[in-house]
Amino acid sequence: MNKKTFYLVVSLQALFLVGMILINQSILWCGQEVILETEPIDPYSLFSGEYVSLRYKAAHIPLDKVQHPDLNDTNRAAEHYARGSRVFVQLEKQGDAWQAVKISKQRKDMGNNLYMTARVDWIRHWSEGKKTEVPHIWVHYGIESYYTPEGTARNYERMEMRGLKVKVAVDSYGRSKIIGLIPPNK
């Protein structure tokens, strides 16, 4: 066994881990802070422990309420914004929190505004138990899990946590990372 090769592999593993840290940390260092409204529930991950699963209001996008410059005919929305496809969602500050105002598959449609990269989960003519004229899109931003110390995730499910907000860092490429949770009335 060649010693150099062995340590090269260990160093590559470490380099991968450091790279993973830097990629994630860079968003926190360089990103702009935004606050998103959410609803928490508490599941459990096998390797990373307890976490709060976050459902963002900005992840539910009714096409009649937001701009969609790359799509003229909303009847074609299901094939255009196919499940799993990458989309860019422009956010705008409304009151305390930031809301989705534009969706597109083209990054250039975002201009110089703040936007987040997301993936489409599903698209339906359905919202809050009612059929809708225009389709609604549900996306995920990759920031739907917030890990908590053991035994504390359940606290976020309690009634007084309704209206929980999340402080998020968003960089100029639309990548986002959670900075922290903001309890209601704060």
């Binding site: 066994m1 010693k3 090769t5 062995f6 340590y7 592999v9 260990v10 590559l12 593993q13 470490a14 991968f16 881990l17 993973m20 840290i21 994630n24 940390q25 926190l28 599941p43 991950s45 390797f47 990373s48 422990g49 307890e50 976490y51 699963s53 799993g84 995920h140 990759g142 920031i143 739907e144 899990s145 917030y146 890990y147 908590t148 110390p149 053991e150 990372k177 959670i178």
Partner: protein
């Protein structure tokens, strides 16, 4: 004297199942052979030099608790470290956690190298390498936790598996190989259950380009077997969410392919492929005897494509000169495939599946007897008993039909037994006459 780890004992038991009495140096057999050699020497059949030469060929192997415990310890410690970081103890600052895990990763590998390759302490070195592999995963999931990467994170398992596999390629250690294949198998299950790909390209590429060659390189029967399981699971997961009606076709096709691969010049793991293939084909048929209303009409297009592929595959294999020596077996496998496909496609009466199964089982038993292979023989007998039981309690068929089927089947087997015995008697007599 060769030192053995717990891993080699697992390998040994695996070999014992598959390679019963067919060769190779098997640990418990070695002590028996040693006694035989001593007996031959005391009877004057062999000289002391020959005794020494033969004894060195079958070394006594160690089996001590000290060689098992570090391996088990490494697994427990690794799992403990993963759980420790998963608890997300707020007292330890994030930076300290990262420094802890990275330094643990380096320290562990430092001692792994030192003990395995410098001090030649195989069991401790291997245990530390295994621990290092687990620590790499602990580090990935700690970073995922710190940066709140989404909990559904199959890529985490993929990177973990690939990192460990790189180490396995470089060191050639079987324990790390098995860990990496298990992790990538877990990745396939995790990823395919969410994405439901029609053809899991990435999974198949990693399996065939990295995992199978690695399993062969480190000469590990368990690793080869895990790769087979991985292939079956990857295909099952992709077709079950897209064309679940062709599952039985894919299973018996793949099983037949494994079987024929095993019979065709497969040097090291021939019997492993043969055994996996036989078990897959017989189990699939047995399970699908429960579905009396199964047919392929719902998915006629993919079924035709697969049937075409099977036909082309069998004809190609039949025509290849290198497969000439097993043409009869290829024809038999093809016939069983054809009969099973007819059963599924034309929704034939339930009793037909027992007919196909009994033909396949009798072929397995005959081959086991012909090759003096106890594993094949036992496998055939187990399936024979299970199929008889299943057929007896099959309420989808009428009592009279089942009765006739078993009576006719029994008579055919009795006649076959009588005929085979007669043939054997004729051959032995001819041989005796020739000698006299």
């Amino acid at each position: 004297m060769e030192k053995r780890t717990i891993y080699s004992y697992i390998e040994y038991y695996y070999y014992r199942i598959c390679y019963d009495g067919t060769g190779g140096t098997i640990i418990s057999q070695n002590s028996r052979i040693k006694k035989e050699i001593e007996l031959w020497r005391s009877e004057g059949l062999i000289s002391p030099e020959q005794t020494q030469l033969l004894s060195s060929r079958y070394p006594e192997t160690e089996f001590r608790a000290t060689s098992i415990l570090p391996m088990l310890g490494a697994i427990l410690l690794g799992v403990g470290i993963i759980l420790f970081f998963a608890a997300n103890w707020p007292i330890i600052p994030v930076a300290i956690k990262l420094i802890l895990i990275l330094s643990a990763l380096f320290t562990c590998h430092y001692f792994a190298y030192k003990y395995r390759y410098e001090k030649n302490n195989v069991w401790l070195g291997n245990s530390l390498l295994l621990l290092g592999g687990i620590l790499f995963g602990a580090a990935i999931f700690l970073i995922a936790q710190i940066y709140n990467i989404n909990a559904y994170y199959p890529n985490g398992i993929l990177f973990w598996g690939l990192g460990v596999m790189l180490m396995a390629w470089v060191t050639g250690e079987r324990s790390v190989t098995v860990l990496s294949i298990l992790l990538l198998l877990a990745w396939t299950v995790s990823d395919c259950s969410k994405t439901h790909p029609l053809i899991p390209w990435m999974h198949l590429l990693i399996l065939f380009l990295l995992a199978f060659p690695l399993a062969y390189r480190v000469r590990s029967a368990i690793a080869v077997f895990l790769c087979q399981v991985w292939l079956v699971i990857a295909l099952l997961m992709s077709i079950s969410s897209n064309y679940e009606d062709i599952i039985p076709l894919v299973m018996i096709f793949l099983g037949s392919a494994f079987y024929l691969r095993g019979r065709h010049d497969e040097e090291l793991y021939g019997l492993l492929y043969v055994a996996t293939g036989m078990i897959m084909v017989l189990t699939t048929m047995l399970i699908f005897s429960l579905f009396s209303d199964w047919d392929l009409l719902y998915v006629i297009t993919p079924a035709i494509v697969l049937l075409g592929a099977m036909l082309v595959g069998f004809i190609t294999v039949l025509l290849l000169p290198s497969y000439r020596h097993i043409r009869m077996e290829i024809a038999a496998v093809g016939l069983i495939n054809l009969m099973f496909i007819s059963y599924l496609t034309f929704a034939l009466p339930n009793l037909f599946i027992y007919f196909v199964l009994f033909v396949a089982i009798v072929l397995v038993i005959l081959q086991g007897a012909g090759q003096h292979n106890r594993f094949m023989l036992n496998l055939g007998l187990v399936f024979f008993y299970v199929t008889v039981l299943r057929g007896y309690f099959d309420y989808a068929s009428r009592y009279m039909d089942r009765s006739l089927f078993f009576i006719i089947g029994g008579i055919i087997l009795l006649l076959m037994g009588w005929w085979l015995n007669r043939q054997r008697y004729k051959i032995v007599s001819a041989w005796r006459d020739a000698h006299e």
